[in-house]
Symmetry: D2
Subunit: 152 residues, 4 copies
Amino acid sequence: MTTQTEQPTRSAPPQRADYAHFDQLPTRWADNDQYGHMNNVIHYALFDTAISNWQMSKGIFDATGKLSRMVVVESGCIYHGEAGYPDLIHVGLRLGHLGRSSWRYDLALFRNDDDIAFASGFFAQVNVDAASGRPAPLDQAACAALLTLQMA
Amino acid sequence: MTTQTEQPTRSAPPQRADYAHFDQLPTRWADNDQYGHMNNVIHYALFDTAISNWQMSKGIFDATGKLSRMVVVESGCIYHGEAGYPDLIHVGLRLGHLGRSSWRYDLALFRNDDDIAFASGFFAQVNVDAASGRPAPLDQAACAALLTLQMA
Amino acid sequence: MTTQTEQPTRSAPPQRADYAHFDQLPTRWADNDQYGHMNNVIHYALFDTAISNWQMSKGIFDATGKLSRMVVVESGCIYHGEAGYPDLIHVGLRLGHLGRSSWRYDLALFRNDDDIAFASGFFAQVNVDAASGRPAPLDQAACAALLTLQMA
Amino acid sequence: MTTQTEQPTRSAPPQRADYAHFDQLPTRWADNDQYGHMNNVIHYALFDTAISNWQMSKGIFDATGKLSRMVVVESGCIYHGEAGYPDLIHVGLRLGHLGRSSWRYDLALFRNDDDIAFASGFFAQVNVDAASGRPAPLDQAACAALLTLQMA
């Protein structure tokens, strides 16, 4: 039986102190599926939005995608527990890896005032030139912004 | 800089011959985001639905969740290329791992008639007793069904 | 050519002063479609969530749906203008109609600090007994809560 | 108590014979909300997609939105009954109204092999010049295509 990616070792869910930046995103009624909890797909929509929010707040995100695009090349999520509407989700963000044209955000989701995450994951992105579709080095401003998310 | 999960080695995108079962899922207009391609979150919605469809076709899925629930404990996706509305997505499915109460599906997404996947990923699930919320061994029927997804 | 519903007369978009209660809901990156604005479907997700939030805050909403369900029997939206991620949407809510077992919310969506709505709409709901599936009269607490949304 | 739109008279749900064109759209697992049925918002996503599919099949839809955009100016839905995952939804489409730069689609949703719709609604669209953002007359090809959806 071949495996595309290695089976990860289950680790303890992270805490708020493990993250550099936080965003608060409310849930929507339809985020809950038939099981009465947030559908597993919504976790990624929250990751996606927290990252976009942060990038826009730093001025490093061309949302029109006309010059360059920050494209997701890999993502993943470990589900430690449950949450769902009407919870307010606190999204923790930190830098996981920084390369020349690619980097990785590590994220976690906290339910209301919980200090222990109910989910943790990552988004690996690459900066792509909109015209050529090829990876393009991150400029200095973007690198500097990303480094503010680095944990000691 | 700590990393929650290992940075995966980028591998070649899989082909149709690497999967045991296929489902065809059309895209919806709003699956495309502002970049004009399928938003990275939709890939998971397609994984989720193809798995649910397959489980229901095998009669091993209690969609009401009253007796037992097949809960996602981890998921991930590698984005090899682009697709989006109005593409018809072919979802490939195979068994990645089978334990006593948990297992993993490996999946890939193929755009229209493409033989090379534009995305590949996995869903790790655990069977949970609805009353206790604790992992419960898979019954024989479920194991037998899952083994039909095993590649040689 | 038969028409299912009458073609509404286009009216001026409402203002904040026309609504009794407000909720603030942030947009998500994937709310925007390929046209770079909030997809027309998202307006309903925001209506749906603002109503659920309000109902929960008044304690008149059995989110589990085990006793009774507040089911949507009709909805509609007029799109006066555009909005989208990263806008913060202010949802205005007022009572449009109150019957024995059914009622209607009138809603409007305001973009950030705008005083003129970019969308206005309604949700007509009926209270349904979860066991019988039949309309059931609203209890006094629910009626009293709804009447707080009535404009002079 | 002012009302933005008139309270519609509840009419009998339409049948398949009332529509000129049909599309088949499968449901997704997460289309169901906590109540175990298709969330009221999904109906609009199915309308939206069936219309886009039809427009693309007729070659009258510039999905890039660079030249002109067919923008939704009003939509509505009456919910006659329930449906949801794993149902296959058949979407019925007909022309409701045709003007110079605007028109209305009337739609209905049928669950699997049902002949009676569980939902009916409409999408009013206007053709907008992408550069000026102003309404622009429909060209002859688009008018001719729309008229094929007219019921006797």
